[in-house]
């Protein structure tokens, strides 16, 4: 089988799996609806209880699982390709930590009580601000190392400010709310969240998808890529702002969900011949599959306990990552 047809097969398999998981996500929940009933309710004109549950609770949850997962997978693959570092993940350039800080400020200040959408909006604003700071620190001809360092600095600062908010929190409930929000979850999201995040994600996806050819060239390093006609400034702007828009929006509506952006590109890289441009769509689909699976699992494992999605991805993701590291070590030895 040729390279290209194998790649198409991988993409098709991932797309089928994502569709299946999306449908499964629509049909899993405490209401215990039948599969046919629930799908039919999505498209019916009635306004009964089933229709309400499907349209207002399950559909936004499944859609967000798809969108957030695709965002994390795509941006992880794009950043690993751009920084030429298999350890890069979307949080590396400071987007996740500052989006969390923005959300924490909204919860802490009580804005969320007056205006519920203040949380995602504030998180988005903070992530945009953070990335502008990272970009300014790194400069237009910034090396990847200065971007990583600037991202780490911004992340640490945002983390410190979040801790300060927790530390000074006037009532324990606000502190608890902050803690729970930061664990990451897709529970009780509405279509408003979907519409809020979607435009930013679409813009971010488009920017990251446009990187494909440049990421392939970057396999040979910055200078060789530049000598092959790749405009490195454009690549940097697309990578940084594309990640900020999509991951900022994802964190704003779901909280910080780790490991997906790190692990998914690793798993899929050997299947696409390690080619960075091919890893982008594969990793987006793979991220969607992984997040939808995790979100289905949290509902199945502990239906009444509201197990947080970010906790589950970390619990499953970390040992898996250890195994990946072990396998890489054996290969190198």
């Amino acid at each position: 089988m040729s390279d290209t047809s194998r790649y198409r097969l991988v993409l098709a398999a991932l797309a089928i799996l994502a569709t299946f998981l999306f449908l499964l996500s629509l049909t899993v929940g405490p209401a215990g609806l039948g599969f046919a009933d629930s799908i039919a309710a999505l498209f019916s004109d009635k306004a009964g209880a089933i229709e309400l549950i499907m349209r207002e609770i399950r559909l936004p949850r499944a859609l967000l699982g798809l969108m957030v997962g695709a965002t994390l997978g795509l941006s992880g693959a794009a950043l690993q390709g751009y920084l030429r570092n298999p350890l890069a993940e979307p949080g590396l350039i400071g987007v996740s930590a500052s989006a969390s800080l923005g959300a924490v400020i909204a919860i802490y200040s009580g804005l969320t009580i007056v205006f519920p959408l203040a949380l995602p909006l504030s998180a988005l604003a903070a992530s945009v601000l953070a990335v502008v700071v990272v970009q300014a620190l790194a400069g237009l001809r910034g090396s990847t190392l200065t971007i990583i360092l600037a991202g780490v600095a911004v992340s640490s600062f945002a983390g410190a400010m979040t801790s300060l908010a927790l530390n000074l929190s006037p009532n324990p409930f606000a502190a608890l709310e902050i803690m729970f929000w930061m664990l990451g979850s897709l529970t009780d999201r509405s279509m408003t969240h979907v519409w809020l995040a979607l435009p930013f994600m679409l813009v971010g996806w488009a920017m990251l998808a446009a990187l494909g050819r440049a990421l392939d060239a970057l396999t040979l390093g910055n200078e060789t890529a530049a000598s092959m006609g790749i405009d490195m400034r454009r690549v940097q702007l697309l990578a940084v702002f594309g990640t900020a828009a999509s991951v900022g929006a994802a964190t704003a509506v779901s909280g910080a969900i780790g490991f997906v952006g790190l692990v998914v590109p690793h798993m899929l890289r050997p299947m696409v011949g390690a080619r960075p441009s091919r890893l982008l769509p594969a990793s987006a689909l793979g991220g969607a599959c992984m997040l939808l699976t995790a979100d289905i699992l949290v509902r199945l494992i502990a239906p009444g306990r509201d197990l947080k999605l970010g906790v589950l991805t970390a619990i499953v993701g970390a040992p898996f990552f250890l195994w990946l590291v072990y396998r890489t070590r054996r290969k190198l030895a």
Partner: protein
Amino acid sequence: MLLDVQGLTASLGGRPVLKGVSFSVMPGEFIGLIGPNGAGKSTLLRALLGLTPAEGAVALGALDAAHVTAKERARHMAYVAQEREIAWAVPVEMLVGLGRSPYRPSFASLGLADRNAIEAAMRKMEVDSFRERATTELSGGEKARVLIARALAQETPLLLADEPTAGLDPSHQITLMRLFADLAAGGRSVVASLHDLGLAARWCTRLLLIDGGKIVADGTPDEVLTARTLRDVYGVEAFFGENSGRLVVQALDLVAADTRARP
């Protein structure tokens, strides 16, 4: 004229590295860029490619290098970097195909001309027999040949190479020098920085000797590689001979401290 450089100056971290370099490259030249470590050879190549900020006029044929797009530049000259870094375990054929990026519109797949160029480049560098292998699993010499094949696939009139022979065995060094000489004979031009004076003397049509950020000698190997210049610039005594009409140079020993000319 393929390349014309006038008064090129460049600094690295505030230290001047190139101090007014001027030369031009005609079609059919294989130019060896020689000079001691730190003389500014790599910086010169990088400045020509726009990879490091530099002052002065650089013309690529009829184009002013200050006003060309990255893609136009890439269709005019290809570059083989000194570092042989390959980040991901991509197959050889795909890596060579990267050389076609300046010709491909976004999202277009490889055309017939692209595939022919890739095939020709792989055959020339004798890497077509392991085209499916992952580049990260290759030996140093194989990797070097794959990276040069990548630059050949770019099919530019001018090829710049930073120490392309480093880490190659004698047979592959000679194969590479012969290939560059053939490219030059076919009307393209090659500028390669070299440390091996013997190879430079035997294969290049012209040598540029750089020392302290300036061109101190420019001409045929016979004119540039003299006992005097080697003593002044490198501080070495050398054996000079001749074989089938071409110069043979072998550095023998350091010049004794008291006889060494002070700049």
